[in-house]
């Protein structure tokens, strides 16, 4: 009954006799059709798809991933190629040498974001910079996920004295001022790692990936897994009381199997959300470090070091600073918004927890 149509309550018994006729087969079938039951992922994804902000940030992240990992292969300039004749160009400007070449009928690819003082194309450097940021964010979060979930699960599952000792260690690491230790590790680890790459045969890959990047991964994975471990432990503590765990144990499953197959799979929502929110935190710290000059080494670049380089030409070439600033902020913002969306979709209970970082 629609209240607007009937301003006064009716005391008549309004019965439509048609409502009481037996349903025919077509009607019965139409009632029987239900939404196909969706699994955990299907249900969560359905909620996520309805969240416009999360979907837009997912699209932005996809654009960044394509831009950072695919576009550089086809881009006519390279991030470390210097061109003395076309230094300090403004966006879409051409140097005299390039203009001469264009007059000869040659096609010169435009510098969308201009060039830096060494004549390197800023656009490709921005793309390579976001590649570093994304790599750091994703790999560091994967390492943190691995260490944190295993540690938290073991502590939560075995409980007792093991749990107490393990969580004391977590508390200690948690109270360590992270940035200070990261800076010190970053300062001190670089040289030994370089030596390791040069002298020990099995470690040549370190040079390939970049000493500073390895450094960042090491320090992040040493310090940042504790937040993840705490969250996973609290989940496991609640889960291990449930009957299916008792059943699994009664059927003779080993502890390792119970943790892997039954406990961690049941925390998958929490793990997804926490890992996604760890990505922007890692990118944030990486950009901070490279702004201080402790990030990746030249000629490789990162958005933080580009912002720091741009400071010297801030009055004449503000677009360099602004472009790097917008890129970093946009990457971190989209991951944060996606993480918020994932949390709403997969794990509404997690609202108050957050990962350190």
């Amino acid at each position: 009954m629609d209240g607007k149509k009937h301003p006064f309550p009716s005391f008549h018994l309004n019965i439509d006799p048609a409502d009481f006729e037996p349903a025919d087969i077509a009607e019965r079938e139409s009632l029987a059709v239900m939404r196909p039951s969706a699994g955990f992922w299907g249900e969560g994804m359905r909620r996520l798809r309805r969240n416009k902000i999360a979907m837009v940030s997912l699209a932005v992240i996809a654009v960044f991933i394509v831009g950072a990992f695919v576009v550089p292969f086809f881009y006519p300039y390279s991030y470390d190629k210097m061109d003395k004749e076309s230094g300090n160009l403004r966006p879409l400007q051409h140097s005299d040498a390039e203009k001469a070449r264009m007059e000869n009928g040659e096609r010169v690819f435009p510098h969308f974001m201009g060039t830096d003082q060494l004549g390197r194309d800023t656009m490709i450097r921005l793309l390579m910079g976001s590649r570093i940021s994304l790599l750091v964010g994703i790999i560091a979060s994967a390492i943190i996920l691995l260490i944190g979930s295993v540690y938290g699960a073991v502590a939560g599952y075995f409980g007792g004295r093991a749990d107490i000792v393990m969580m004391r260690i977590v508390d200690l690491i948690y109270s360590v001022p992270d940035i200070l230790i990261i800076i010190i590790l970053q300062v001190t680890l670089k040289e030994p790692l370089k030596k390791l790459a040069a002298n020990v045969p099995g470690f040549a890959w370190i040079e390939k990936v970049g000493v500073s990047l390895i450094c960042i991964f090491i320090v992040f994975s040493l310090l940042y897994w504790v937040g993840m471990a705490r969250i996973v432990r609290s989940q496991i503590l609640a889960l291990k009381q449930q009957d299916f765990v008792v059943a699994a144990r009664a059927l003779g499953a080993s502890s390792g199997r119970i943790i892997r197959r039954h406990l961690l799979t049941n925390c998958i929502g929490t793990l997804t959300v926490t890992t996604t929110l760890q990505i922007p935190a890692s990118i944030f710290t990486e950009s901070f470090l490279s702004f201080l000059g402790l990030g990746v080494a030249a000629p490789m670049t990162s958005l933080g070091s580009m912002a720091s380089d741009a400071l010297s030409g801030i009055w004449s070439y503000p677009h360099r600073l602004i472009s790097a600033a917008v890129m970093i902020s946009l990457i971190i913002l989209s991951f944060n918004l996606l993480g918020d969306g994932l949390r709403d979709a997969f794990d509404p209970k997690l609202k108050h927890d957050s990962v350190k970082g």
Binding site: S175, P177, I184, S287, A307, S308, I314, W315, I322
Partner: protein, 303 residues
Amino acid sequence: MVKYICKRVLAAVITMLGISVITFALMKFVPGGPFLAEKAPSAAVTAALEAKYGLDKHPVEQYFTYMKGVLRGDLGPSIKKRGRTVAEIIAAGFPVSAKLGAIAIAVAVLLGVPLGSIAALCRGKWQDNLILVAATTGISVPSFITASLLLVTFGVKNNVTFGLATPAHYIIPVAALAFLPMSYIARLIRSSMLDVMGQDYMRTAKAKGLSQAVILFKHALRNSVLPVITYLGPAVAYTLTGSFVVERICTIPGLGNEFVSSIINRDYPMIMGTTLFLAALIIVMNVAVDIVYRLVDPRITFK
């Protein structure tokens, strides 16, 4: 309560000792020493210098000598800034940074709490969306970006680009340092206030006929401000580390600026001393915040 405080203080002391050992070991571990300049001094000079600063002794012995000094408030001499001790440099730089940081945190709390409350009260309306978007942007923009963008846009026009000569010079560094904590607090308050407003006692208060203002300030706000207290510890840590970059961008002679130059100069006693000092500060703040939180919120039991 006393037991709890003792436990926390003990844990803090252990953490500090751990940090001092790790920092000291790492400092000894690095190759490039402080006397490796482009024009390398002769072996005899280097040996004499190392003897003067006690760098030729066994590392464990060096550590104990150093820690004895630390307990007396002596953090050793700065190697690069001749004639000044680390303690002097910290004493000169810290008040500047502390003042800046305190103002930034005050601004963050004083703006973040009302913004978060407004968002919670107007849940789902445009005010809420606006504040949420702004706050999410706020936790996504690193402080060095806020600082440098403000410098380009606002600083040049008003000629307040470096130093802290007038109150107007405080605007850029304070805004850069306060933006993230403010956004975080606004988000925190919003979610905790929404939580509180769903509680039964809020309905009771309304049913008793209390005015909106009393309900809001006496019942809702007082309960939802509690999480902000726990955030103050991390906020202090954030403003301290944020000061490294912000002081550099705005050319402020604070401790953050000194710390970054000591890293670039490989001034070991300075790095070590500043790290210990800042770490102690952050840890003490965290312990203090936890204790205050338990005093303020009687619902938390002492274990």
